[in-house]
Symmetry: C2
Subunit: 322 residues, 2 copies
């Protein structure tokens, strides 16, 4: 079975780790593809940074910092101190030395003419990941945030302002010219099941869905499409998705996010939706909209609970007739 | 008095340190400009490396590794190990973490549209250097070495092959379109004295002289031009200049290098030439060619001997009537 996950960042990484664990435990030859958000990529000090991709890469490679929750384990910041002294990196953004190696290599390959997909393939070949990562698009579609203080790159809003500056909206510049990468296209078109990770619906899932062609691929897919809520009991599991949801006028609730994605039968993307047991009340109204909803424990605390969540998502998908 | 030094690398750095020390001891308001070789610059892993400039910068800033003889003091190589793992940097080239900060900042500024001169100015503003550094040219004129194994970048020949691969010649690609930088032009045209540092005559001084316009500026200058030999008693003081001299058919001797530079009166560049006391025999034949030659202790062992060498070079220059 070919399983395709759509998402990005740490929430997605944890979900894919659970999926990989589940696949390993079943001993099946199921494969995992991940269509990764590239909207939070940016240029910093002449280097191309790709936070969502790298969070996935490091987590799947087992070299991530599990205590801090992001970046590489055993990280240091000697180069960053130099870059601060040179004034090319703002003091509110942390660049680890080991992480910089990834950014330098990625930038070198891009400057030499490699596509983002080719860069993913090269970065992904260093460690056995148990999953294949594809950029949603090879185009540069960095997310910008409109605020009363003007437009700024998503990272400035997210990291510098901790998303505290009221956002009026999010745009991916140049996205109208973007197209799905060949890998993303293939992973969606030929999936046996498509799973939306519990990633930020606005800035992690949103940019993927905004790439022209992605929604058509989802709409045309014969695979069941199941999403996992990143909202539990009205709160964000991790990150600051509430500020993003508020900006686009969506309530921070498992039900509202599913309504935002919409039922595939009505032009949306979801066949099924997994909510936490605390949000069981959302199940009936969402079913009425055409989204098969199941309430299960959503917290991914360890390998067991993550694998169980993956199993629940796949079970929900397999129960959906297409 | 405005003193302009031409050269690059560690030999030049030591000479300029001596000159700065001499100026400080005299309490004069003499200023020092350095026209720096850019021929050994190169692109590595998407980053612009400028070894001759950085040796000068670090030495003048007092942050260089005096034991190792190159790079930053207190250096580490965490990023380099990552770049080796990613395969974007060959194992024969060492990139320190602190040094990488410089390369990343330089590359970021260049990618943002800054000229090499502007990059020099920004890098030079971090520490009080006591000298102003100018690139010989803003153009990219990386030196390539012709060998029986084909052409390769100078750094590959120099560092990987330790200059042991017989060289057939040296070329700066694209140099016919290069021009002196505004700073180099001003520093030579308005100098009161021009000093050639005891740098490699072929790959440090050679590329500077090969920039179209530099020889005319030297020829037109009203300042005396004095060179300091980097060869003592038939041996190279440091580095591997002998392999470079052999490749262009010049004997490794203080006399032969002066003949290679030539007397200004005969279309060359030198009015005066400082050789070591062991090479005093070169004085008469060189004087006969029109190069005023003086034999002094050339070894720069410490601040005193370096300052004395600077004093000797300036004394020789002041004795030359123009």
């Amino acid at each position: 079975m070919r399983i395709t996950v759509i998402g990005g960042g740490v929430g997605c990484a944890r979900f894919v780790l659970g999926l990989r664990e589940h696949v390993r435990r079943t001993g099946s030859d199921d494969t995992i593809d991940v269509v990764v958000n590239t909207g939070d990529d940016w240029w910093l000090s002449g280097l191309r940074i790709a936070p969502d991709h790298d969070s996935l890469l490091y987590a799947l490679a087992g070299v991530n910092d599990t205590e801090r929750g992001w970046g590489r384990a055993g990280e240091s910041e000697r180069v960053a101190a130099e870059l601060a002294a040179w004034g090319t990196v703002p003091d509110w953004f942390t660049l680890g030395d080991l992480d910089l190696g990834t950014h330098i290599a990625r930038t070198a390959w891009l400057r030499a003419g490699a596509s983002v997909s080719e860069v993913y393939a090269r970065l992904g070949s260093r460690w056995p990941l148990g999953a294949t990562l594809h950029p949603a698009t090879d185009a540069e579609i960095d997310t910008h945030v409109d605020t009363d203080d003007g437009s700024m790159h998503f990272q400035e809003w997210w990291v510098r302002h901790r998303s505290a500056l009221p956002a009026r909206g999010f745009t991916q510049r140049g996205i109208e010219l973007a197209a799905p990468s060949a890998g993303a296209r293939d992973a969606i078109a030929n999936a046996d099941v498509v799973l939306f990770a519990p990633s930020n619906p606005v800035v992690s899932i949103g940019p993927v869905l905004a790439v022209p062609g992605i929604r058509d691929l989802l709409s045309d897919s014969r695979a069941p499409i199941v999403g996992v809520s990143g909202i539990i009991d009205g709160s964000v599991v991790r990150g600051m998705a509430d500020a993003c949801l508020t900006a686009i006028g969506v309530e921070t609730s498992a039900r509202a996010v599913a309504e935002h994605y919409g039922a595939r039968a009505s032009g949306g993307i979801l066949d099924g939706w997994l909510v936490d047991e605390t949000d069981v009340a959302a199940a009936d109204p969402l079913r009425a909209l055409g989204i098969t909803t199941r309430a299960v424990p959503l917290w991914m605390r360890d390998a067991d609970s993550s694998a169980q969540l993956a199993r629940d998502a796949l079970a929900l998908a397999s129960g959906i007739a297409r």
